[in-house]
């Protein structure tokens, strides 16, 4: 089969502001795609366009092979879950679930059957006769998911569904959404600004900035091989360390030291000509203690701040005048003020062109 959802040259302008710029996006059937980006990047706008809640300025949207660019939301074969739950407050849970089906003119037996199936799946059967005001946040979001579920559609749209919940509930419901996806095998498009949600849920992540998709790939590829500085800095917490340097003849010069980077997997051949570069190092790829001697790049550094996080500890230091963080096991964590030797392997790092910010 062809693509489940397909966006072709989609643009959206609010007056003079280009929110989305000729965007192309193909989503396979059964895929879980996460749109990730900082607020204002256009990710929710894209979702609203796919849902048909916003008229597009240019381009086309296909759902299940059908051009739905001019279709009403109800005719697109989608279900949507919102951040604020958007349950109808004066209706009971059962009514909330059945409203759309009643409007569509379904028979009572069919409605009851679908509600029974959805409420069993989401374990909200005991809540069916309550009003939304008498539900907790997590229960409300389950009902909101149920409302999308009973529509029996091919494509689910989630607009930051977990952002209003507290941390514990968020991780519980995250797992539940993943389980739901594995069971239903529907196409799901999920908007979030939470990178943990994106990494854990997605088959593919689309990282957006200013209405343009920066990188669209599997979570581990995005994490390990970010295509540019923006993606590299956005994904990961604490974020990637950036060190200014110069690349020449297979070596990078950092703070007066030369390091061999010939084993680094360059995007184009051997990295091209001599140029200013930015070296990106993940905090967890920094080695301290016994293993440091085997690392190609080594520095002396003084620990400035230590943040114990339980399982691991983040330490802050300075390298070539830039803030540099490293992540280490809590048992072997350094102390504040301690002078230690740190090392990393450039083969695991990312090298970016200092001018354009793209990966080389």
């Amino acid at each position: 089969m062809e693509h489940s959802v397909s966006v072709k040259d989609l643009s959206l302008n609010f007056g003079a502001v280009n929110v989305l710029q000729s965007m192309n996006l193909d989503i396979a059937p059964g895929e879980f795609l996460v749109l990730l980006g900082p607020s204002g990047c256009g990710k929710s706008t894209l979702l609203n366009c796919i849902a048909g809640l916003l008229d597009v300025s240019d381009g086309q949207i296909f759902i299940s092979g059908k051009n739905v660019t001019w279709e009403e939301p109800k005719d697109r074969g989608i279900g949507m879950v919102f951040q604020s739950y958007a349950l109808y407050p004066q209706m009971s849970v059962r009514k909330n679930l059945s409203f759309g089906l009643q409007v569509a003119g379904f028979k009572k037996e069919e409605i009851d059957k679908r509600i029974a199936r959805a409420s069993e799946m989401l374990q909200i059967e005991p809540l069916l006769d309550r009003k939304p005001a008498n539900l907790s946040g997590g229960q409300r979001q389950r009902v909101a998911i149920g409302r999308a579920l009973v529509r029996d559609v091919d494509v689910f749209l989630f607009d930051e569904p977990l952002s209003n919940l507290d941390a514990k509930l968020r991780s519980d419901l995250r797992v539940e959404i993943k389980r739901l996806h594995q069971r239903l095998k529907n196409t799901m498009i999920y908007v979030t600004h939470d990178q943990i949600e994106a990494m854990t849920l997605a088959d593919r992540i689309a990282i957006m900035k200013s209405g343009v998709i920066q990188q669209l790939d599997a979570p581990n590829v995005i994490y390990n091989k970010p295509v540019n500085l923006f993606v590299a800095g956005f994904i990961g917490s604490p974020s990637m360390n950036f060190i200014n340097g110069r690349f020449e003849n297979g070596t990078v010069t950092l703070g007066g030291h030369n390091f061999d980077v010939s084993r680094y997997e360059f995007e184009t051949g051997q990295g091209g000509t001599a140029q200013d570069v930015i070296l990106g190092v993940r905090p967890e790829h920094v080695v301290i203690g016994p293993g440091v001697e085997s690392q190609p790049c080594q520095f002396e550094a003084e620990i400035e701040i230590v943040e114990p996080m339980g399982a691991e500890t983040v330490a802050w230091t300075k390298l070539a005048g830039e803030t540099f963080t490293l992540r280490t096991n809590s048992e072997t964590a350094p102390q504040t003020g301690q002078k230690i030797r740190i090392g990393f392997d450039p083969i695991r790092s990312s090298i970016f062109d200092a001018q354009s910010g793209t990966r080389i």
Binding site: E72, K74, S84, F99, V103, A104
Partner: protein, 308 residues
């Protein structure tokens, strides 16, 4: 020894220091007494006219002529109330104020229903179904709230005459609907704007149309603001004098106009007791509305209205 007994007592003038714990004790300070006194005096000051009206309405005319304004009636009589309601003369007719009461009901009830229905639809449309120029449309509507009524009365009379609605019941209802529209639309628009927009989006995904979303989602949610609108319109239309005089026509004169006719009748003696009784009767409906719904009213004003 006596010395030991004395030492357990606190020294004269020394304050007993209590360790602060639990709720802070409330003290009646001088300032607080002053504030209460001011409030009580103000309340008495504003209630005094009502008191005079009430006692006067139960007095006989000879007792009123004695001039003791604040005294409790010596001979308690309901005669002025009966006369005010049923037999007082308004111009040539001597049917009391009761026809005016029913006229006011006939104007107020449909006036309130029609104006609030239209305003709710307006507010809903202006919040959720924005069209090209809807902001300008709303701006013009708001401008209407600041136009003095007297300016538009004459053109409106001509308009009503040409439509064949001048001096008719539908005519006066339409006039009240028109003049209530800016403030009521503002009330409903602001209320709907305060609801999460996602609710509207969810209803659209569920496939509900313009009227379905209005009647099944939005209207049931707008009960609090609808109550505020009812209060505003009932008191506004009931208390109206100007439009009633101009547009209602002789057959439909509302209570306020008939009250004026009773009070300003210049033939014979001035029956103060009847005038007072008639005035209280005319004011009874808005007073009752305020007493019953005062809490809602304040809530609604705080919720978004800027002009009461």
């Amino acid at each position: 020894m006596s010395g030991a007994a004395i030492s357990t007592k606190p020294a004269a003038g020394a304050k007993v220091v209590v360790e602060p714990a639990g709720p802070k004790p409330r003290k009646l300070t001088i300032t607080r007494i002053g504030v209460y006194a001011f409030l009580v005096i103000s309340a008495i000051y504003f209630l005094l006219p009502l008191w005079v009206m009430l006692v006067t309405s139960f007095k006989t005319m000879p007792e009123i002529r004695e001039g003791y304004l604040f005294n409790w009636p010596r001979e308690f009589t309901f005669e002025p109330w009966i006369k005010a309601w049923a037999t007082a003369c308004t111009g040539r007719d001597c049917n009391g104020i009761s026809p005016g009461f029913w006229n006011s009901v006939k104007i107020t009830v449909p006036g309130v229903i029609v104006s609030i229905t239209i305003a709710a639809i307006n507010g809903y449309t202006l919040s959720y179904w924005k069209f090209r120029g809807s902001e300008i449309f709303f701006g013009i509507l708001m401008f209407g709230a600041f136009v003095p009524y007297q300016v538009v009365i004459y053109p409106l009379i001509i308009f009503m005459r040409e439509m064949g609605l001048f001096a008719t019941l539908p005519g006066i209802i339409i006039v009240h609907t028109i003049f209530g529209m800016p403030i009521l639309t503002l009330l409903f628009r602001n209320f709907f704007a305060s609801l999460p927009e996602e609710l509207f989006k969810a209803a659209r995904i569920d496939g509900a149309g313009y009227w379905q979303i209005f009647f099944r989602i939005m209207l049931p949610m707008s009960v609090p603001i609808a109550i505020v609108a009812v209060i505003l319109q009932v008191t506004g239309i009931w208390n109206d004098f100007l439009f009633g005089t101009v547009f209602a026509g002789r057959e439909n004169m509302p209570m306020t106009v008939q009250l004026n006719n009773i009070v300003t009748t210049t033939t014979g003696t001035r029956e103060y007791n009847v005038n007072m009784a008639a005035t209280i009767l005319a004011a009874a409906v808005p007073l009752a509305v305020y007493f019953i719904s005062g809490k809602w009213f304040v809530r609604g004003i705080a919720a978004g209205a800027v002009k009461g």
